[in-house]
Structure formats: structure tokens, C-alpha cells
């Protein structure tokens, strides 16, 4: 295992930042007058990404000791990591400008928001391609990961934005429920993509099979079944479907249940990256 928990945290935070941007931009398109909630959602995006990038730098020890070397990251356009740096160089400033505009109660121009949306989709997708280009780790070396990480970024983003809704007033929080159908579809898609990823990995020789074994019945089985599948995906899905009928329930208890559902989604979003990174067995040749 060459890449470890720090990389998993980065992948999660970058995805969550991208997802939160997309969810927030959707909400502000649908309900342009609800400002309170949105501010926090806008501000948290560059913070999440910034913390994530810090993890990445700490993990790159030789660069951390000689920070000037990080400028070299733009050198190889064939590398997904370099492409990621280009995407971040575009997305980070936009998310900062948008955050500052919200902070000072200015309107975010529509065109800027749309460019930010494109950047967010690229950011979430690239985190999948980053692992996907690793010939030496069969579990990662597939074309499912970008789609999987993108969908998971979306669910994490919706969860963050919905949780921040508690900071706004009740009427605004309720509008976050407009995101619910997207969340339900994305969660089902995520379950399918996880199954596909494991299925492909099994067919990729000894290392791929060893990874899948670690996830389904070995070292990471409890985290996978209980943490990711149970708490991270099925439980929030059940809550969503279950509470769908009581859409306008104002009781504090109902809100708390809804909030814990969103917290579970975040746990699942992190565990997905953690398990995929940690169970990445390098190619077994003999």
C-alpha cells in the first residue's frame, strides 16, 4: 500500500467540495431568494478543497520539504495529476470569488456559476481518473471509478448542503428537500457502480481478486458491509424513501432523523475512498 489514509481524505474532501458546489448552485438556481443557507454552502467549498490539498502536500514528503518543487506539478499534461492541478487552478479561484460574492451579499453571475459547475464535475471525476490510471494497482485500474466518485461526490455534497440548511431558517431547510430525488437516484447508482467495480476487479488477476477478498470478507469487510453499505448508503436511502411521504413534517424529531441521515451519507462518502485506497493491492506477478 503506497497511498494511504491522507490520500483517501483528499479524495473525499475534493469530491465533497465539488458536490457541495453543484448542490448549492442547483438550490440557488431553483430558489434565488433564499440567501442565508446558501452563504455557508458557498463558503465551505474552498475550505474543504483547501484542507484536502493540504493533505496531499503533506503526503508528498519531498515536495513538502522543498515547496518550490510543487510548481513543477504543471509540467506533464499527460499525467492525470497534472490535469487535476489544472482543474483545481480553475475551480479554486471561481469557488473563492463565488464565496466572497455571497459573503458580501452580492449576486453571483449565472455564467460564472455555470463555469464553476463544469469545474466541479471535472474535479469530482478527475479524482476517479487519478486512481484509474494506476497500472500497478488492478482494483483501481478501471473506468468505473470516475463515475463512482462523481456520483458519490454528489451525494456527499447534497448531504453537506442539507446539513448546513440547519443554520438557515426552517423554510429554507425545507427547500433543501428538493435535492432528495437526486439523492435517491444517485445512491442507487452508487450501489450499482460499487458492485461493478468489484466485479471488474475480480477478473483482473491475483491482485484484483485479493483486493476484492479484503473488501468483501477480509480486513475491510466490517467497514464495507456495516459502514459503507449499511450506514453510508442503505440507511440514508431508507430514511429518504421513508420520510418522503412526510415532506412537510415540522417536528424537531423528524428533522433530527433527517439530519442524521445526511451525516451517515458523509460517513459513507469517506469510507468509500478509504476502502478503495486501502484495499489497493499492487500487481502480483508470481
Amino acid at each position: 500500500m503506497v497511498w494511504g489514509p491522507l490520500i483517501a481524505v483528499y479524495l473525499f474532501l475534493a469530491g465533497a467540495a465539488a458536490g457541495a458546489y453543484l448542490a448549492e448552485s442547483f438550490i440557488s438556481f431553483k430558489y434565488p431568494t433564499d440567501k442565508k443557507t446558501r452563504r455557508w454552502g458557498r463558503i465551505i467549498v474552498p475550505v474543504l478543497l483547501g484542507v484536502g490539498l493540504l493533505m496531499l502536500m503533506i503526503d508528498a514528503e519531498a515536495g513538502f520539504k522543498n515547496p518550490l518543487r510543487f510548481f513543477g506539478l504543471v509540467n506533464n499534461p499527460a499525467s492525470v495529476m497534472t490535469i487535476g492541478v489544472y482543474i483545481i487552478c480553475m475551480f479554486m479561484p471561481i469557488s473563492l470569488v463565488v464565496a466572497v460574492l455571497e459573503l458580501f451579499h452580492k449576486n453571483v453571475p449565472r455564467w460564472l456559476d455555470i463555469i464553476g459547475d463544469i469545474g466541479a464535475v471535472c474535479l469530482a471525476g478527475y479524482t476517479g481518473f487519478l486512481l484509474g490510471d494506476s497500472l500497478g494497482v488492478p482494483l483501481w485500474h478501471n473506468s468505473i471509478l470516475p463515475a463512482l466518485f462523481l456520483v458519490s461526490a454528489l451525494t456527499s455534497g447534497i448531504a453537506i448542503v442539507s446539513l448546513l440548511g440547519f443554520l438557515g431558517d426552517e423554510s429554507e431547510f425545507e427547500k433543501m428537500r428538493a435535492l432528495r430525488p437526486i439523492h435517491i437516484v444517485a445512491t442507487i447508482l452508487e450501489l450499482i457502480l460499487i458492485a461493478l467495480m468489484l466485479f471488474i476487479a475480480v477478473g483482473k488477476g491475483a491482485a484484483g481478486a485479493a483486493s476484492v477478498e479484503m473488501i468483501l470478507s477480509g480486513q475491510y469487510a466490517v467497514l464495507f458491509w456495516l459502514g459503507l453499505i449499511g450506514i453510508g448508503l442503505v440507511l440514508p436511502l431508507a430514511l429518504d424513501v421513508f420520510t418522503a411521504g412526510t415532506a412537510n413534517d415540522h417536528k424537531a424529531g423528524a428533522l433530527a432523523v433527517e439530519a442524521s441521515g445526511h451525516a451517515c451519507v458523509l460517513v459513507g462518502g469517506f469510507l468509500l475512498r478509504f476502502i478503495v485506497v486501502m484495499a489497493g493491492v499492487t500487481m502480483i506477478l508470481f
Binding site: A62, L135, L285
Partner: protein, 180 residues
């Protein structure tokens, strides 16, 4: 311009680790660091068993996957086909390590830079300087030379012994193995 490569004959290798040690000395590596490592294989069923030691190191792949992913360009290939890491550019992101299918790259403990076999490349010489694993091998299990020159020892031996890359066409390697 040459295209440097190596032949390793595992039928001759006795697994004495002298090459690893010589490499550690030449490249001033720590006792736990090494550009050469060994795979130990047992084949057959008792009583007809066989043991094989396979020395592994950077295969100096053409279109090297490690170079393809290296964001800084620290990993590069010389005109003579030797894959090198330029230490002053490497950030230690380890992307090259997850891209290499042979697990032959390592992190240098003191600098955090990623390194690997460089065919004893000598900057002043502008080429490989008598690779120490070859020079030190007690069993003559290693031959080094120019793969593009059909008259070189290594080219002749590869042709004669039918030496093959260690993992088929996984990548196009410049190390060829003769196995029992």
C-alpha cells in the same frame, strides 16, 4: 545512441544477494533500502520440487507507465532508453509507485524522493557506468549492454537463450530473463 538493457539468468542465480548489496553501496542506500529485490518461487509437488530466485529491479520500460503519470517530469527517459528520476524535481507524490506494475520503486527515507535502479547512470559520463550488480555477480547470471547492437554480448545471449520479459507484454521491458 544505444538502447541499454540486461539479461538475468535465474538458472545461474544462487540468491546470494551480492548484487543488492553492491547496489546499496554504490547508491549509498540504507540497509533496508534497495533497488534490487528478490522473488522466491517454489514450483512442483513433493518430492519433485524446484526453487527459483528472481532478482527484480526497474525494467526500464519503453513508454514507461511511471513516466506517463509523473506530474513533474522528474521521471524521464534518456536518449539511451534509461529511465531516471531527477531528484531535484521529485515531490514524492508516489504516483509513479502505483503506476509501476513491478513494484520496483522505493522512497528514499532521508529525502522523501522516489528512486529506483538507474543502470548505474553516471551524469559526468552521460551513460551507465559499469552497473555494479553485473560487475559483482558471483555466478555470471547478469549480462549488460546495448540491445540495438546485434553483436553485443547481451543481444547475442538474449537471442541464443531465448530470454523473455518477466511478465510477457505487460510493458515493453529492457530486462530479459532466462528461467529454468
Amino acid at each position: 545512441m544505444a538502447r541499454y538493457g540486461m539479461l538475468i539468468d535465474t538458472r545461474r542465480c544462487v540468491g546470494c544477494f551480492a548484487c543488492r548489496l553492491a547496489c546499496q553501496m554504490k547508491n549509498t542506500l540504507g540497509p533496508k533500502e534497495g533497488f534490487v529485490h528478490f522473488e522466491h518461487l517454489e514450483t512442483g509437488a513433493f518430492p519433485h520440487v524446484d526453487a527459483e530466485v528472481i532478482p527484480m529491479q526497474c525494467m526500464h520500460c519503453e513508454d514507461a507507465p511511471c513516466q506517463h503519470v509523473c506530474p513533474t517530469g522528474a521521471t524521464h527517459t534518456t536518449e539511451d532508453g534509461v529511465v531516471l528520476v531527477e531528484e531535484s524535481k521529485c515531490i514524492g507524490c508516489k504516483y509513479c509507485m502505483v503506476a509501476c506494475p513491478y513494484s520496483v520503486r522505493m522512497i528514499e527515507e532521508k529525502s522523501g524522493v522516489v528512486e529506483k535502479c538507474r543502470f548505474c547512470w553516471d551524469d559526468e559520463l552521460g551513460g551507465p557506468n559499469n552497473p555494479s550488480c553485473v560487475a559483482t555477480c558471483i555466478a555470471d547470471a547478469r549480462i549488460f549492454g546495448d540491445l540495438d547492437d546485434p553483436e553485443s554480448d547481451v543481444s547475442k545471449a538474449i537471442a541464443e537463450l531465448g530470454a523473455q520479459p518477466i511478465a510477457g507484454d505487460l510493458t515493453k521491458t529492457k530486462i530479459f530473463y532466462v528461467r529454468g
